[in-house]
């Protein structure tokens, strides 16, 4: 039976569900990668002019921000968070551990920004007095913050579950099975109702008697009784 196979089989989505989950997952990953790239480049452009800048406000700005950076930074932070959420949500719909891939955004963010601190800390632009200790400290801090979770994420078993999940990861959870069973049952009932399958005559007589009793007892008025009877007889003739 088609329904029972769906209930106990793989949780990997099919058809339109698969297309939607894949598209959302791809969009989330691409958006997150785009946001982190923007943040990385925006940070470099600020470090290029000494590490801090300002724009707007009533005061004369000594170090104006490079064009666009003023809004690229907040937009990429909030946009990045949004897209990581999208990647995790749609990745989880694919089943297995695909959703966990979104966790790579954390080490990606801290290690790329940490790299900027390291590069500009070792060789600051326009300065002759050597390394900038505070930036190197930030580089070390960011390396630890991004590196430690990355070590966890790069364990072969974890990585494999995210990129090439085994079949056992697609076994249905009980709540998902219940959800599918309910959906399948609803579909089956709707299909049966639309087909108006002929009923065995014994069942039809029982139904007619039950209708008549309801009518006698006053639960159905004459009009409702007639309509229900017609529907029953119509279904039997179809």
């Amino acid at each position: 039976m088609r329904g029972s196979k769906q209930v106990t089989g793989s949780s990997f989505p099919r058809g339109a569900d698969l297309a939607k989950a894949s598209l959302g997952f791809a969009l989330g990953l691409a958006g997150a990668a785009c946001a982190i790239t923007l943040l990385f480049l925006a940070m470099r452009s600020v470090m290029e002019i000494g590490g801090s800048c300002a724009s707007g406000g009533p005061y004369e700005v000594a170090n104006p921000c490079p064009k666009g950076v003023g809004w690229i930074v907040p937009a990429s932070i909030f946009g990045g968070l949004f897209f990581v959420g999208v990647a995790i949500a749609y990745g989880s719909r694919l089943g297995g551990d695909y959703g966990t891939l979104g966790a790579f955004a954390w080490p990606a963010l801290f290690l790329t920004l940490g790299w900027n601190f390291l590069e500009y800390g070792v060789d600051p632009p326009g300065a002759d007095d050597g390394p900038v200790v505070s930036w190197l400290f930030c580089a070390a801090l960011f390396a630890v913050m991004g590196g430690l979770p990355l070590i966890g994420l790069l364990r072969p078993t974890t990585l494999r579950k995210m990129l090439w999940p085994p079949e056992s990861d697609f076994v249905r959870r009980p709540d998902a099975r219940l959800h599918d069973a309910r959906r399948d049952l609803t579909r089956t009932l709707r299909a049966a109702a639309s087909r108006r399958a002929p009923q065995p005559s014994g069942e039809l007589v029982d139904d007619l008697e039950r209708l008549a009793r309801l009518h006698r007892e006053g639960a159905l008025d004459a009009d409702e009784y007639e309509r229900a009877k017609e529907r029953l007889l119509g279904g039997a003739e179809a």
Partner: protein, 33 residues
Amino acid sequence: MTNAARLALLLLIAASIAGGIWLGDWLFEVVTS
């Protein structure tokens, strides 16, 4: 889930990340130039 589906998803992941980095680079050029 078939191996073909796994491979297709792996390629989709790689293409999405690469595409996102390219888009970010391009957007930055466009916005700051």
